[in-house]
Structure formats: structure tokens, C-alpha cells
Symmetry: C5
Subunit: 359 residues, 5 copies
């Protein structure tokens, strides 16, 4: 990826009136073919298998287990649509899923709940990556969609296998809570890493050690990062209320406290983002101030040099005049006397500037 | 259109107390005579015809079909008023429609719902154009008004003809949803195109390649664009609640989810606009900073030249003095010695400035 | 009016504890003696007469007509109070009316509704003028108060006479709606005119044609205008809710839609003002940027002159030295050679600066 | 008071965990010993006497009169507490009263209502002074507390004596309304006086007549004033709702309209403060702009001097060179010719600068 | 702690998917082993003892007393979890407690209420320290957690011992109120101390006495302090509503007024923080303005020196020319005459600059 392209956020695609096409179109950038993993567990047993996208997914659900369909890759619009249709998700929700990571919504249908949201992480080259996620919570099952292959849910799978944090004792709504937490954890990690980069840059600015860095570009990108992150979290929190007031009772009353806890987490993240924004703008002030101080210094130097030498140059000009009668030119020690005068001027100027605290 | 006029947004007209005139007056700028197209369809059949404005429109409605009156051109105030009156829209609503694209409202009358809103698109010469739209949703019919001829609803017509996306299976409220989506799609496209222009300009600013561009004018226009777009979407979202709570039951309960989905879309667009505004202001910071850095550089150069040459000029002034006794002037290698001294001064100055990282 | 005084908004008067004085005091600036016009109309007839302030106003009301008392001039506090008292307006409301155009309120009393608001227009010398208005809506009558004589309601009177826009068919609440619209129309006109002045100034700034204009003062006044206008509209919209929820049923249910329409108008005006504010601040950015560019240019020029001439001056200083042995001084073509060197330096400097794009 | 100390707002005191001390502590700055005046009136009679703080205050209340205890000075914490306790005010409310003018609250107890708020006025030396006030409204009585002796309620007392504005006809809640209005009147007067100072300063800035004034300090203090005033009014308006919904029915239904009127006044003051803030920030822009223009001017002057003289100095340097063969030096009119050349340069430079509009 | 590290706020730790670990992890920075103190009191008696973390805490509760478990140090995650579990606090609440001072919440469980909040104080080296606190309010008992050993509750303990401020007469909810007040008192003290530092700095800026101070760093840190403090108080106020609406009736109706009083305190603190933020940004304006004025001064000086000496240098250059015929060079008093001319130029320049008020 060249430096240039990474400066601008990805140029978003737009297909005029895509909503009128009979066939759905994937408009994101991750061409990942769909793979499905089915994890089924209850207190005593756990099984795990790969599923072909053309299998009848709903028939694979075991009634007394929690069934987790973990789907990676949504770029094949037809397959994605078929999967969603199998679980009763309406066409326009699927269109939003395929529309290139921008829409956030939580919709409570009669027999399931559809959650569309974005995830974020910091890539190897330290840039913020945002991608689409979706969940379907139904009776006995959770379907998770991920736009890119990622290890973000692996820890959850391990925790299930090892029976950690009560997952095995609890139902599918608890699994959803765990998966949402995984996404939030990665999101939180992104804020922390960006914050650390900011602090690093601030230290460099305070040490005035930013020679080969385009600070302005750094600040501009961080502003965009903050804006992108806010763009994910703020609507999620707004929509999240639909989950808390779930009218289809897919979230059991005894588990609602977990989801309320997650809401607190979202609020905390919004507060963190606010603080992050303030840090960026304070960094930008620092940078502008540094530039100003540097300019002040340069001009001060110019003024010092000028203040000292311009009078001297005048003096030597005087004694370079060609008047017939200039007695001091004839003195035996005239030249020495001239140097003395000039030295005096320098001393006076330096003394004056010192007192004015220019050095 | 000259460059000058396109700088300022169109000068808005105002007719004092126009609300007291017996005859309605069109105050927009698009002089387009009214043409009406009537599209009637159900699951099995579809018909399409041109209608004269003086026909009795309401009598043309076929009871078991969806009847779409597609009206282009509203500048003939009398004709527009007659059409609206035929569908029972009150006088002051028509006045708002004719008042030159500024008012947004969604009003639920007893037998129909009147929606007044603005549309936006990016013209050939890349400027944002805003124009007035209106819809009447009634029993079995939708009336759409467009201030300018545009292809924006053509896709919808094609979709109806080809029976795509279930339009033919569904009722007039679904048609309204489709048409609103067409407007939103064009609006969305405008944001994306403006964003891309912004990113382009940002790349040029970072490469400092903005010689013949009036960046300030660019920024000022984009700010106005953002302001105009917000001016469309924000009140629409506020008024949209009236459609969701439609008391005249013109939107069927099973279709309300489509309209809720559209509300999510409006929120997303507002979020996009917020991000757009932030990008504009970040671009403006970048531009000011570039100017400052350039000024710093110019002053630095001046200081370098002065710091090196002012002492030299002083030195040659010294040896240009006319004192009788200046021993070095008599030395065999005095001149060479002078050049040596001066070279030394240059080297010291350059060395000093290098260490201060001025080069 | 001298330039100075028009810079500052009018110095507001304040009378300590005026609320404790037995006699009300007018604290505005318009000394206009009270004149009353009474217009009475129904579908078939219309009469119009001047009324003396000391007549018993309430007894003049004809029961089956709409009675419009049009009062101009409120500076005679006693008279104003008597008129209000005749219609049952409490003392502290009258005090607010007399207090110098600052308070906005809509109060629903048992038998009437009192509306206190400010109007705005642009004077001949293009400055924003704000003045006090009030309305009393009662059974069969409307009383309108205007602080200054103005033609703002003349159109309404003409419309009544000519029976336009259904005024004659409708009741006193509809008359109030018409009068409010007249005020709003003048307010709207003010925004448009101010916007046009802004656009004009922006064009001049972009052409850098602002020599004899105090741009800063212009910007500062426009900010104050925006602030004054917001000060009128924002509280009016807040208070307006009281009119919509009118508990004394003075607004008939079938006319409530007109007043809801007026509320949309207020919102639109607030949106316009927001856009106006943004334009002012964008103008201010443009101006600061212009000044900066001009400064950059001046400094660039200084640097160009210095960069070219300072080395030259050094060179001529060298050949002005008095060393005994300076071979080039003795050369036949030494002088020509010197000019050649200097020309070379100039060419190199110009070439260098050209490449750096300083010209 | 030295200039220094008046720059900073008073350093606030803090006593760690003062809330755990058995004895209340006064933490304000006004050491004023408590004095109590009791004014008792009904329609026919009025009496006025001084009361010692150790008298049993509640027993002095005459049942059929309005009893106004006017208390000045609260710095004696014990006495203040005893007075409050006599009227049934809880300990922590008294603590807030004594805590040094910061807390605003309106609390409705069973038999009385406690109002804690700050007052503001402009002192002789034109600085904003803020001090604590409190009211207790009970059955038949009002207790008013003032931290400093002030004439602010004298007008109210006079109005009672002279039976103005219906005070004598009305009950204790009306007296409270009158006293609140007195405080508001003084607050309003403060805003107006500060506004006038602002306008004065703006005129001076526009005339560029600010030589011996520290404008920045002026702006900084006005910002603090605005902040302090907002700090008083904003929470008061928030708390005021408790008074309007008074559950203990101490405010009679027929008087509630007075208190609603007062709420409008608070809103108007908040609007005024908002406008004041905007004026301050616009003044600050004006000041920065003035400084910039001045800098531009200085640099322009430097550039003019340099542009004219640097080439001249080069020319005289040329003719000061010591080449053997410099023909113009030998010309009869060489010197005159040199002056001619130099004059030409000056004329060209001046002409060039004039065309560029530097003069 | 080196200066560098204290510039950046502490780098926050993050453990990917910590919520999936079976064992809780403490992620704060205070490694303080857990110590428990149990204070039991009623009106007549008081006892105090140290408790080992592995004792059965709930069995130590005396039924007719108020039981205060004062716990210091939470870094041993297992111990902390066990203590919380003993009182019925769910696992994810404990996780938030251990997660490194960021989450604020008030949760009402069936038999107790869990309050998680941060405390703040100013350390010896004048920096703001933030640390985690938690409370459990149950039947007859209060458990307080503190991340660091601190004296903040010692005053409360003393007050209990000495039976001050009615603690001994009241129940455990009153104790909670007292402890919350202790935290708030320390928080309030922090704002006051930061405010005082700000005022100090402002005085130094106005005296221009900031030579060895990095003002920008100071401002940047104070902004972060304000941000951190807001981060504590704002969510606390939001969550506090849960305490006021306590559904488990742990707060007695007669004590609810204390908790409402505390809510007023939180609002006041938010207002104080707002004012603090404004002061910081006004300080920052002051600083930038100072720098600008200093730059203006430097450039003015340069211009003065140049304006005086550049013409002089030109004059001496003139008389240094080598024209054969320069009559003034031959005059007897030519040299004196030259000095006279030059003196005249100086006097004129100084006079001109004086009139322009450059000195």
C-alpha cells in the first residue's frame, strides 16, 4: 500500500439505486469466500464441524444445545443472502450488511434479533481498520458474520471448549454477550493503541524531535480515526436500546443484567473517544505552538545579527568615506581606535539584548 | 455560468407577504412546464400513459392497482395548485412547495400524507444542486413532484416494469418507500462525491501542489455544501417521525419496518455529514498550516542569507576603510588572508546553522 | 447617526427595581404616541375607523365580526397600560411589553392569549432594526401592538379589504395567523438581505477588493445581527408551544394546522440562522487567510530583494577594499569582469527562486 | 486591592471534610455580624423593628400579617445555624449557605421552602461581585439572608411602606416574588453594565486607541464574569422548577403566574448571557486581528525601506570599488550621473510599490 | 518518576479478551495487598478490629449495629473477588472494579447496591492522581474498597468515634452518604488546587514571567486533568439516578434527602469543571497572545534598527565613492557636514517613529 493511498480513507463506492437491483451486490472491499463453522455445545458435550454454505443450516440446529454458526466472508452476495434468508432476515437488512461497513442497527424481528455493527482493530502497519460484523440471535442459535477472517472469536471458542466463564452453563443469549464483548475488547484495544501513539507523538513534540515526520498528516489521520470510531460506537449505543427492550424475549430476564453491563461499556468507550478527540486537538495546538515558537526564534536570531552588525557596517562605511579632511584617519592609532569603538558597540548591543533576555 | 456567480449560493428571492396574495407564486429557479405520467400496476398488469394537467386526475385512479402520478415541473403555480387541490392538499402546503426549495415537512392529513423535501445531486461541473421534491401518499395512489426533469425515478419505473424487488407484489406505501430510497440514493451519492473531492484536495495539500487553486474558496464552498445538505436531512429526520406514527393508517403495519429502515438510513446520512464537516475543517487546518510552514521557510531563508552575508559585508567594509595605518592592507598576502577569514566565517556560520538544523 | 454609534448596539437602559414603581415606565427608544385603528369585518361587510385611546375599547367590539384593533406606538406607558387592562392583560405582562424589546412570551390567560415578541427588518442604511410587537387574541377580537409605525400590516389590511386568501371567511384566530406571518415574512426578508450582503462581501474578499472597508467591523456587526435574530426566534419557538396547546380554546381545532405550519416556518428560520452564522464565521476565516497571504507575500518580496542584493553588496565591498595587492583591480577588464560575476549571481539567484516558485 | 490580586478570582478556600465537623464553619469572605430586621404588614398596618439574633424568632410571627425577617450577615456560623434551625431548615442546607457562595438550590420541605442562590452586582471599581443569598418561605413569613449589607431590598421596603404595586394586598409568596425580582434586577443591571464596558472597549479597538490598556486581561476577566454569571443563573433555572411544582402549596395558585413570569425572566437572562459571551469572543477576534494588521504594517514598512535602499547601497558600493579602469568615475559629470541613476531607482521603486498599493 | 513519563498520562494496559479468562486479573497500577478493617457501631457502643481476608466476612456482621468493612488494596484479584462474592456481587462487576480505574456504575441488586467510581486527589508533586473506589451498601453494612491506602476516610472514622454529625444515631445508608461526601470533598479540593495553579500561571503570564516554564505543557496537562475529572463526575451523575430510585429500599425514605443533596453537589462540581475548562482555554489564548506580542516587538525592533541605519549606510556609501569630481569631499568642513546630514536623518527617523508610537 503506497503512502498516498493510505492518507485518504478508502474511496467509498456507490451504486446508484442499488436497492432496485433484483440481485444483491456486495460493495465492501474484502473479497473473502464464505466459510461456515458450526459449534454446538451444552453442559456435557461439545462438537465442532465445518458446514458447506449450501447445506440447509436451520436443519442442523440441535434443539438442546447452543448452536453457534460462525461465518467468515460475506463477499459472495448470493450465498450471504441465502444464509440470512434461511434464518428469516429480510432482504433490506442483508443489503445493509453487504453495503460496505457503514450501517449500524439492532432490529428485533418476531423470532430473532438482527445486529449489524462494525468492528475495529489496529493493523500491523498501525492503521485503523474497520470492517462489518453481524449477529443473528434466535432460539437456540447465534449466527455470527465477519467480513474478514480474524482471530477475534478464537478466544471465545477456546473458552467454550475449556468451559471457562460459565459459557457452557448458559444459553445462546450469553454467547451473544460474550461475542459482543470480544468485538468491544478489540475496539477498546484500538482506542488504547491510538492513545499511546498520541502520547508518543506528544513526547516527541515536547522534545521538538519531529524532523522527518509529517505531524499535520498524523494529526489529520488521528482525527479521522476518532471520527470513524465515533461513527461506530455512537449509533450502536443508540440502537442498543432495542436489544435491552427486546420484545421477542430472546434474552432471558436473568441475563438482561449482562446486556445492561455491556451498555455501560459502550458509554465508557464513548467517554474515552471524547477524551481521545480532546487529546488530538490539544496535540494540534501543541504543534502549532511549536511552529510559532520556532518562527519567533528564527526572527529573533535575524534581529540579533542585524542589530549587532548593521551599526558596525555603518561605522566602517564612515571611515571608508573619501573626505579630504577626516582627522581620525590620520591618527597613529586610528585603526585601533576604530576597532575599539566597534567592540564597544558590540558589547553594548550584547548587553542590551541580554538584559532584554534575547539570549 | 461565470466563476463569480458560482461562488455565492444563488441569491434567494423574497416576495414580501407572498402569503397574502390570492394567486400562488412560484419562487424557485427552474422554469419547467408541468408534465404528468401515470403508471398503474398490480401483480399481473402494468400500464403507462401521459396525462394532461387539466384532466381530472382523481378519476383516473384504478381502484385495484397502485397508481403512480409522476409529475415533473412545478413552475406553473396555477397548474401545480390545481393538481394538489385535486388530491386535497391545503393551500399553504402548496405555497411551501412553490416557495423555492427551503421547507421540509411531513404532514398527515385525514385521507393522505403530504411529504415535502429537497433532493440533492452533483452536477456535471461538480457543484451541488438542490431542488424541491414532494410526495402525496393516498389510498391506492402516490403522487410524486419533481422541480427539475431528472432520471432519478427512472430506475424505479424500470424495476416496476421488470417486476423487480417485489414492487409489483406490494402496495402504494411500498412504492413510496422505493421512491424515497431513490432520492436518498442520489443524496448519498452526493456526499460520497464531495468526500472524494475533499480527499483529492487533501492529497494535493500534502504534496503542496495547490499553486493555481484557490483553496480557501474550495473550503468555503464545501462548508456551504455541508451546511446545505444538513439543512435538508436534519429537518427531514425530525419530521419523519410523523410518517412513522402515521395516524391515517396509509402505511400498512407489515410495511412499517421498511420505513423504520429508512429512518436508520437518514441517521447514517447525518453521521456521514458530521464526518464530512470534520473533514472540511481538518482540511482547512491543513491549509493554514501549510501556509505557515511556507512562511517559516521564507523567513528562515532570509535569515540564513543575512546571517552569512551581513558579517562578511562588515569585514569587507573594515578593509575598505581609509585609515593611514592599517598593517594588514600592506601585507603581501593580505588579500588572500582576507578571503581566508571570510571563508572561515562562512564555514562557521554554515556549520552553526547546520547544527541548528536550518538546512 | 454617526459611524461610531452605529458600531455598538444601542446601549440598553436599566432602571433599578423598575418593577417596584407604581407607574409603569416605557424603556424603549421609539417615542411614538399611541394611535388606534379598528377594522371590523365579516363575510359580507367591512368597516374601518380610527379610535381614540380613551374610548372604551371593549364596548366597540361587534359580536358577529372579527374585530382587529391595530395599535401603533406604545411609548405612552399609561395609555398602553389602560388599553391592556381593558382587555384583561395583567400588569407584569404590560411591564414586559414596555421594557425595551427583549422579552418573548406566549401566555394563555382564561379569556385571551397574550403574545409578546420582537420583529426585525433591515433599515434604509442596511442595518438591522429590532422592535417590539404584541398581540392579544380574544373572543372575536385581535389586538396588535407595534412599537414603531410600519407598513408591515398594510398588506394584511388590503387582503382583508379585497377578501383575499379566505381571511373574510375565517375567524379571528386566522387573522392572528396572518399577522404572525406578516412579521415572519419581514423577519425572513431580513435574513435574506443580510445573507446577500455577506455574499457580496465574500466576492469582494475573493477578489481582494476590500481596501477601504473595515472588514472586521462588518464581520463583528453581522455576528451581532445573527445573535440578535437568534435571540428573537429561539425563545419564540420555545414559547410557541403554549399557543399550540392553547387551553382556552381560542384557536379552533380546524385552524390548529395553520399554527402548526407556522411552527415549521420558525424551525426553518432557525435553520437559516444557523447557516447564516456558519457563513459569517467562514467569511471571517477567509478574511484572516487573505491577511496572512498578503503578509506572506510582503515577506517573500523582502526576502527576494535581500537574497539578490545582499551578496552583490558584499561583492562590491570586496572590490572596494584597500589591500595593496589585489590583482583583479589591475586587470584591464577587471571592472567588466566584476559586472559579469555580479550578473551571474543575479541570474543564479533568480533561477533558484524561480525553481522554488517564488515568482 | 493591588492590581495583581484583582486579576485572579478570589482564591477559594477548602476545608477537608468540613461536612464531618460538628460545628458549622463559614467559608466565605464577608465578615459581617448578623443583624435582623422584622417588617410586619397587612393591608391596614405596618410595623418595623430590629430583632436580636437570640430572640425566639418564630414566636414573633404575627398570624394575620406578612412577616418579613430581613437578615444581613451570615458569617457567624452559630447564629446563622440557630436562625435556620428555628425555621426548620436542615443542617446540610445551612452548611451550603455557609460554604462560600457556590451552591444553588431550591428545596421544598414540608412546612417551608428553602431557596439558596447567588446575587451579583457591579462594584464601584467596575468589577463583578458575587455573594450569597437565601430565602425561607413559610406560612405567613419570608426570611431573607444576605451575605453583605446592601441596599438591594430597600426599594422593596419602601414599596411596602408606601403600599405600591399591590404588595400590601397580597401574601408572603408575593413578597418572595418581589424580593427575587430585586435580586434579578441587580443581576440584570450587572449584565447591562458589563455589556456597555464591552461596547466601549470595542469602540476603542476599532479606533485603535488601546495603548495603555491590557486588552487581553480585560477580555480574560470578562470571560470569567460571563462564566460566573452563567454559574449563578443556569443552576437557578434548573432548580427553579421545584418552586413552580411546589408540593407544600406555599405558593397560592393565583400567584403561580408571577413565578412563571420570573422563570421567563431567567430564560431571558440566560439568552442575554449567551449574547454577552459571543460579544466577548468577537471582541477577542477583533483584538487579535488588530495586532495582526499592526504586524503586517510594521513588516511592510521594513520591506519598503529595504526595497528602496538596498539597491541604492549596492550602487554606491559599485562606484566605491577600486578598479583601475572604471570609466564613469573619470567622467566630468559622473557623480551627477550616479545621483541620477539612484534617483531613477527610487522613483521606479516608489512607483512599483504604489501600484501594488503598499502606501 | 522522570519528567518525561509524567507528561503522558499513564499508558493504559489492555489484555485482549480478558473477559474470557477464568481467573480475574487486576489491571491497575497499585500493587497494594488487601487489608480489612471492621468498624461496628450503634448509638451506645463502637468496636474496631482488623479482619483477615480469608475470614467469613458476612458472619462477622452484628445485626443491630452499622457494620463498616473498610478494605484497602484490591490488587490481589482472587482475594477481591472472594470478598465481593461473599457479599453477592456478580463476577462482571468485580471485573470492572479490577479493570484499572475507568468504569463508573451504580447497580441496584436485590439485597445490595454496588457503587463503582473513581476518586481524585492532588499528589505531593502537584499532579492529579485518579484511583478506583467502590462501595457495597447492604442491610446493616457498608463495604468500602480503596485501590490505594489513603487517609480520606480517617476523618469519617474519627467522626464516628467522637459521635459527631449524628452518624451514630443514623443507619448504614447515612454512613454511605458520609463516605461519598469524603470522596467528593477530596475531589472538590482537587478542582480548587488546580484552579489555584491556573490563577498563579495566569498572573505569571500577565507579568510575562514564564521564562523557564513550558507553558504549553502546563496547559496541555491541565486540559487532560479537566478531561479526567469530567470523565469521573459526568458518568457518576448519570448513574447516580439509580441510587435515588433505589428499588431495593436500602436507602430509607427519611434519608433520601441527603442523597438528593449529594446530587446537587455533583451538579455543582460539573459546573465548576466547566468553568475550569474555560479558564484553561482562556489561559491558552493569553499565552498565544503573549507570544504574538513578543514577536511583534522583536520585528518592530528590527524595523527600527533597519529604518535608522540603512539610509545612513547608504549615505556613507555615497561619500565612499571614487568619482573624480565630488565637490563635497573637497570642502574644508565636508566631513562635519556629512555627520550633520546623518544626524539629521537619525533625528527625522526617530521623530517619525515616535509619532507612529513605535517606542
Amino acid at each position: 500500500m503506497s503512502k498516498r493511498t493510505s492518507t485518504s480513507p478508502r474511496v467509498r463506492k456507490h451504486l446508484d439505486n442499488a436497492h432496485l437491483l433484483e440481485n444483491l451486490v456486495y460493495m465492501g472491499e474484502e473479497n473473502v469466500s464464505t466459510s461456515i463453522e458450526l459449534i454446538q455445545y451444552d453442559k456435557t458435550q461439545i462438537s465442532e464441524r465445518a458446514v458447506r454454505p449450501d447445506e440447509k443450516l436451520k436443519e442442523l440446529i440441535k434443539p438442546d444445545c447452543v448452536n453457534w454458526f460462525r461465518i467468515t466472508g460475506i463477499s459472495d452476495a448470493g450465498t450471504t443472502y441465502n444464509i440470512c434468508k434461511a434464518f428469516g432476515i429480510p432482504r433490506f437488512d442483508v443489503k445493509d450488511l453487504l453495503s460496505g461497513y457503514r450501517v449500524t442497527k439492532v432490529i428485533t424481528h418476531d423470532t430473532n434479533t438482527f445486529i449489524l455493527m462494525s468492528g475495529a482493530y489496529i493493523s500491523e502497519d498501525k492503521e485503523l481498520i474497520i470492517y462489518q460484523n453481524a449477529f443473528i440471535l434466535g432460539d437456540n442459535y447465534v449466527v455470527s458474520f465477519q467480513e474478514r477472517p480474524s482471530t477475534i472469536f478464537n478466544d471465545a471458542k477456546d473458552a467454550i471448549k475449556e468451559g471457562r466463564v460459565m459459557i457452557r452453563e448458559k444459553d445462546e443469549d450469553y454467547l451473544l454477550y460474550i461475542l459482543l464483548n470480544c468485538l468491544h475488547s478489540s475496539f477498546n484495544d484500538a482506542i488504547i493503541k491510538l492513545n499511546n501513539r498520541l502520547n508518543e507523538m506528544e513526547d516527541r513534540l515536547i522534545d521538538d524531535d519531529t524532523e522527518n515526520i509529517n505531524v499535520m498528516r498524523f494529526i489529520s489521520r488521528r482525527k479521522k480515526d476518532a471520527s470513524s470510531l465515533r461513527r461506530i460506537i455512537a449509533p450502536l449505543r443508540e440502537e442498543y436500546i432495542n436489544l435491552l427492550h427486546n420484545t421477542n424475549k430472546l434474552i432471558k430476564p436473568e441475563n438482561i443484567m449482562y446486556f445492561e453491563d455491556f451498555d455501560d461499556r459502550l458509554r465508557t468507550s464513548l467517554d474515552d473517544l471524547l477524551a481521545f478527540r480532546e487529546s488530538v486537538s490539544s496535540l494540534s495546538d501543541l504543534y502549532f505552538n511549536n511552529n510559532n515558537l520556532r518562527l519567533n526564534n528564527v526572527i529573533k536570531k535575524l534581529t540579533i545579527v542585524s542589530t549587532i552588525f548593521i551599526p558596525l557596517t555603518f561605522m566602517v562605511g564612515v571611515w571608508g568615506m573619501n573626505f579630504d579632511y577626516m582627522p581620525e584617519l590620520r591618527w597613529a592609532h586610528g585603526y585601533l581606535f576604530a576597532w575599539g569603538i566597534m567592540l564597544l558597540i558590540v558589547i553594548l548591543a550584547v548587553f542590551y539584548l541580554k538584559r532584554k533576555r534575547w539570549f
